[in-house]
């Protein structure tokens, strides 16, 4: 019984050291790309700038949560405990931003 529980709880499969290092490399490369994009005036002025940065940030966020926080390999309950509040938080954030976008400055 204890062994089963331990298996269900903690003895789940984890990424290997090699995978961890690849994840770190990708995170670094995406961060470099983000900062690089910031220094290209033509790109900053374009409509693609904000969506591109948001997508790159979301990819980094997801990679850390899936691999470093092991959510990809962990129990479904942990996934629900994290993604449930996260979805509510993101929806609230978007709602507030759109709601106040129409309030005049000053």
């Amino acid at each position: 019984m204890t062994t089963d529980r331990a298996h269900a709880d903690h003895a789940h499969e984890h990424p290997t050291w090699k995978q961890y290092k690849w994840v770190a490399l990708w995170l670094t490369l995406i961060t470099v790309a983000e900062v690089w994009a910031y220094y290209i005036p033509a790109f900053v002025a374009s409509k693609a700038f904000v969506p591109t940065l948001l997508i790159m940030s979301a990819v980094k966020f997801t990679v850390v949560v899936m691999f470093y926080m092991h959510l990809k390999y962990d129990h479904k309950l942990f996934r629900a405990l994290f993604t449930g509040p996260l979805v509510i938080a993101v929806c609230t954030l978007i709602a507030f931003v759109f709601l106040f976008a129409y309030v005049p400055v000053g």
């Binding site: 709880d9 903690h10 290092k21 940065l53 948001l54 940030s57 129990h75 405990l81 938080a89 931003v97």
Partner: protein
Amino acid sequence: MASAAATASGAHEAHEHHHYTTTGLDHRKIAIWAFIGSECMLFASLISTYLVYKGRSVVGPFPHEAWTSPAGQVFKPILDIPVTSASTFVLLMSSLFMVLALAAVEGKGKPGYEGVLGSSKFWLLATALAGVTFLGFQAYEFTSFVHEGLTIRTNLFGTSFFTLTGFHGTHVAVGVLWLMTLLFIDMKRGLGPRDAIIVDICALYWHFVDVVWIAIFTLVYLIK
């Protein structure tokens, strides 16, 4: 009698060492995920406040634009992207060190976990030092902002910026204290595979602090 006492003692020991809920999952891990879920909402409220007030400051200094005060004093854009990029890199690397610390604790005594690379002490110390370095960058940034004329009371940008990044910095500081506590335990009695859960919980908190910074770095520093 002796047998009953031994059984009671064994049950007590089992109760002490196995913190399982009816789901079969460790309640400490469920608790940390529930806590992280609530923290998502806290940081979403702080980021929302920052975004709602973005571009609504009546007086400077501003994050990305230069500003000339009515007295003729010129203020350059206040955010220092190269410095913040360096601190972001340090925090990302701290997450790598943290997973290597957890792997070292889980794999202690197994083949392939010998030497410095398999030393949980080394990786816990590296993570804590990276956290302290990040806090040093933040202290430098806050100090330079104050010297350049931006305080928490200057304008809406200053208020929302210092509140958001200050809350995040406090979380990093708590994480560093937590890591130092684990390092102390490791040095005193050693951390092994049966302690993996306490390192895992700290690691989850630390990675959460990292993902919050990933969002802050893009939304506050990079998006103009």
